[in-house]
């Protein structure tokens, strides 16, 4: 099975986060929500890592 590049998740989070930040500049309605969601995409994996803990998966 072909292994995906390890940086894919980082790239996806970066694109979502950046799109949210730029969308937020354009308005005060759904754009603010998009900005908040985009930034949440950056913060959520940290909460996930904190919650998951445990030993390394092999």
């Amino acid at each position: 099975m072909k292994q995906t590049h390890p940086l894919w998740p980082v790239a996806i989070i970066a694109v979502v986060s950046l799109a949210g930040m730029i969308a937020g500049l354009a308005g005060d309605g759904w754009e603010d929500l998009a900005a908040a969601l985009g930034l949440t995409a950056s913060v959520a994996p940290i909460a996930w890592a904190l919650r998951r803990g445990g030993p390394i998966r092999r």
Binding site: Q3, H5, P6, V10, E31, L39, A49, R52, I56
Partner: protein
């Protein structure tokens, strides 16, 4: 990746990070309260929203005349309008092209033609925090230095991602290896947080660098697009004539309907020419309100002489400010921005810890 290439990237990451870490820690700590500057200012100066009727306000020229009368021998340089109260802010000086140090700031209440009640003079705590964040209290030198640190930060981020790639495969995404050594655990946290906050950190770092270049970018625009728009004669500065400000405001707004006035630059000011009153208009939407359109009004006749949108590099500069401070998307965004600021402190601290705790076989061997 070849071991030699990996070592080279590792060196780039180590030294670009070490160069800027201390300064980035200062910026992250001072940037945290600045995210909430509106709320903190509101706590320091609680004020009820003011209501007023347009009919009860004095004409702008009348209010300007009273401010100029309080500063004999002065001329107007800039004029701006408060959004939450009927107050104009007139900047005056001995000449239209006076340096910043010689300028005087005169707020005037349009209901009374007197300075507004309850305005505390002097420098507040948040102003000092902003100065520290902007230039480390070192003026222009500090500002450009921090701009260079922003570039170092961008290099550290790129090299960090390059280094992370070969090591991310084994533990998996967002995995922190518990039960291993402290050093390994902190390395994982450093990589996880650095990776997922990459876009935010890059935006904040690069917009910070752009903001430190505001003066040279603005100077370039003045010599380029603004000079072309103004067709400046380079003759003497046209003197201010009472009544011309209101006429200029009226004609500028009529030339570009649907926009409101952000500020006015009088003849001789850096944002105007010797012959013009430059009226800077902002749009009605959240995006266009952040961008400015200059309208050049002939300072002798009050007629509009030219209108042009800002060039791309000035638009970039104007948008870099909200993108750096994250204060444009409501309170939820501010909290997330502050959270990202805090986790960036963890990345900086863990990076320093990893470097300090790094085994140095060569040094040990030399000592032996």
């Amino acid at each position: 990746m070849k071991p030699a290439t990996l070592r080279a990237w590792s060196k780039v990451h180590t030294w670009s990070s070490l160069t800027c870490t201390l300064f980035l820690l200062i910026l992250a700590l001072t940037g945290l309260p600045l995210v909430f500057h509106d709320e903190i200012d509101g706590l320091a100066k609680p004020s009820q929203p003011q209501r007023w009727r347009a009919q009860e306000l004095l004409p702008v020229d009348h209010a300007m005349a009273t401010a100029l009368a309080r500063n004999p021998g002065s001329v107007p340089i800039y004029l701006s309008f408060d959004e939450d109260r009927p107050v104009i802010n007139l900047t005056t000086g001995p000449t239209g092209d006076a340096p910043e140090a010689a300028m005087r700031f005169n707020p005037v209440d349009l209901r009374t033609a007197a300075p507004p009640q309850g305005d505390a003079p002097g420098h507040g705590v948040m102003d000092t925090v902003l100065d520290l964040h902007k230039d480390l209290l070192l003026g222009k030198v500090g500002e450009y230095f921090l701009g260079a640190m922003g570039l170092c930060f961008a290099v550290a981020l790129v090299s960090g991602v390059v280094l992370y790639a070969p090591f991310a495969r084994k533990p998996g995404f967002a995995t922190v290896r518990r039960g291993k050594s402290n050093r390994l655990r902190w390395l994982d946290w450093h990589n996880v947080i650095g990776g997922v906050t990459l876009a935010w950190a890059m935006v904040v770092g690069l917009t910070g660098t752009i903001n430190t270049l505001a003066d040279p970018i603005t100077a370039w625009w003045r010599g380029d697009a603004l000079a072309r728009l103004a067709h400046d004669s380079s003759g003497p500065i046209v003197p201010y004539r009472p009544g011309i400000a209101a006429l200029a405001l009226r004609n500028a707004q009529a030339a570009v309907p649907g926009m409101s006035v952000q500020f006015v630059a009088f003849p001789g000011a850096a944002f105007s020419s010797h012959d013009h009153i430059a009226v800077y208009l902002k749009g009605a939407t959240p995006l266009t309100a952040k961008l400015l359109t200059p309208v050049m009004v002939d300072a002798r006749t009050g007629q509009v002489d030219g209108v042009a949108p800002m060039p791309w590099y000035m638009k970039g500069l104007l948008l870099a400010q909200p993108l750096h401070f994250g204060d444009y998307g409501g309170l939820a965004m501010k909290f997330l921005w502050a959270l990202l600021d805090l986790v960036s402190i963890v990345v900086l601290g863990s990076g320093l810890y990893l470097w300090l705790g790094k085994p140095r076989p060569a040094r040990k061997a030399r000592a032996a």
